[in-house]
């Protein structure tokens, strides 16, 4: 199972506590994980990726294994530790504004 850590407001929106666990079919990439996340929690559509362009929203970042993966290609494989469920993919909101 893939683990995803959501920021506070998206946990509230999706009505989940703690990490989200997802079954991902095929290669584990940013795109496949986010597709699985949005399929299970449709209310998250548009909150992480733009609804039209599917680009990462500018004030969000993707981290895993203490690395910033935000600028990796959407179809690049995520680290093995994420694919195995040992480490979560962390979706982090920028610390900006009030």
């Amino acid at each position: 199972m893939i683990r995803v850590t959501l920021p506070h407001h998206l946990r509230t929106l999706a009505q989940v506590r703690g990490d989200v666990e997802l079954e991902v079919i095929g290669p584990v990439t940013q795109r496949s994980v986010l597709d699985a996340l949005e399929a299970r929690y449709p209310m998250l559509q548009g909150t992480i990726r733009d609804q039209v362009t599917h680009e990462r929203r500018p004030f969000l970042r993707f981290f895993a294994c203490q690395e910033d993966l935000s600028h990796e290609a959407p179809d690049a494989p995520l680290p093995n530790a994420v694919a195995s469920g040992a480490e979560p993919l962390v979706i982090l909101g920028a610390i900006a504004g009030g």
């Binding site: 920021p7 506070h8 407001h9 998206l10 509230t12 929106l13 209310m43 559509q45 548009g46 909150t47 992480i48 733009d50 609804q51 039209v52 929203r57 004030f59 969000l60 909101g93 920028a94 900006a96 504004g97």
Partner: protein
């Protein structure tokens, strides 16, 4: 006895304020969607328990929430606002072309006849419609496709479509307003639109007959006289008696004619309310006094309403969608401030009291009068 429900959108959530017809004691629920900007909350006129809210955030974008029980419970509905076709460009602040980009929903206007149909005014300026209770939104592209689109330019708050008025006597007629393009009207249900800005004067526009470019802040109408419109422009309070074909100024004796909010008494179509703001560079009430000004003559002659409002050391603003009226007798008038107060008058403005004083900055106020 009647119930009054006040729907308040703030910088950090939505609040629902409820009272009986006396409008003395209020129950306050919220924050709903805590921490999110709520630009607007509005109920369906035909099903008052059906509410729609625009929820947005710089981090997470736009959501639309719907309630079927008067705001007790909410569910997120569709939030995909995709412009029709190639979006094209409008002017940026410096006059260069800038691509149309969706940012947020400023205003939600439920249909007068169908609780599942709602219009949404968005930034960058466009109008969308849902006919399935908010699940899917389609642009009415004739507005943005009006030939003047490439000349539209954002106001300081962004290039927002902030006002949508549905004509109760003519389901094909809709008025909208955009900062800083101006006002537009459709007479064919939103297929084609025409600018209705003749008579507006703006210092920063060299051509006094410019078709577009006016920074209209808000427009109000009384449902019994849908051809009579009142406008708070950037500067100037304006009036049209011919469905926007022409405008004339009715600022009269106002201490300043800059402002955002404007509304009409529920039972007296010539009684209108504004909250003058000092200037476009000082967005607070003049002289440290919070004064609503009322005209009982459709403009030009204005009286300050001060009873119960702070008359010293007050430096708040009242935004364009943050004033509303109920339909009780006497008419209730409500407005919210950048300081987080929501003021109410149960006597058409003669006296005021704060329903609540310490909310986040208020972005919008709507009122429902329930049987």
């Amino acid at each position: 006895m009647s119930t009054v429900r006040v729907l308040v959108g703030t910088r950090k959530g939505a609040f629902v304020l409820t009272s009986d017809g006396k409008r003395e004691k209020w129950d306050i629920s919220g924050p709903h969607f805590a921490g999110w900007e709520i630009y607007h909350v509005k109920g369906s006129p035909v099903d008052p328990n059906r509410l729609y809210a625009s929820q947005s955030s710089g981090w997470f974008g736009q959501l639309i929430q719907r309630s079927n029980d008067g705001g007790k419970n909410w569910e997120p509905v569709g939030n995909k606002f995709a412009y029709e076709g190639v979006p094209g460009t409008h002017q940026w602040y410096d006059g260069t072309p800038h691509p149309w980009e969706f940012k947020r929903v400023w205003h939600l206007e439920p249909s007068l006849t169908d609780p599942d149909t709602v219009y949404a005014g968005v930034e960058d300026a466009a109008i969308f419609r849902t006919t399935d209770g908010g699940q899917n939104w389609q642009e009415l592209p004739g507005l943005r496709g009006h030939g003047s689109g490439p000349k539209w330019q954002p106001g300081a708050g962004g290039m927002c479509l902030h006002t949508i008025i549905l004509d109760p006597s003519n389901p094909k007629r809709i008025y909208i307003a955009i900062s800083a393009a101006g006002a537009f009207r459709t007479d064919d249900g939103g297929v084609t639109w025409k600018p209705i800005n003749r008579g507006l004067r703006s210092e920063f526009i060299p051509d006094p007959n410019a078709e577009v470019g006016h920074c209209v802040h808000h427009v109000a109408m009384h449902r019994s006289r849908p051809d009579v419109l009142f406008m708070q422009k950037h500067w100037d309070v304006m009036r049209s008696d011919d469905a926007g074909e022409s405008w004339h100024e009715v600022s009269g004796n106002l201490p300043t004619d800059f402002g955002f909010a404007i509304d009409v008494h529920a039972h007296e179509p010539e009684t209108i309310y504004v909250v003058p703001i000092k200037s476009d560079s000082e967005h607070f009430v003049p002289e440290g006094k919070l004064r609503v000004f009322r005209s009982r003559t459709g403009g030009n002659e204005w009286e300050p309403l001060t009873k119960g409002l702070p008359q010293s050391d007050c430096y708040i603003n009242v935004l364009r969608d943050a004033m509303a009226v109920d339909s009780l007798d006497k008419c209730g008038v409500y407005f919210g401030t950048s300081g987080g107060q929501v003021y109410a008058s149960a006597d058409a403005g003669d006296s005021w009291s704060a329903i609540v004083r310490d909310l986040p900055a208020v972005l919008s106020v709507e009122v429902q009068t329930l049987a």
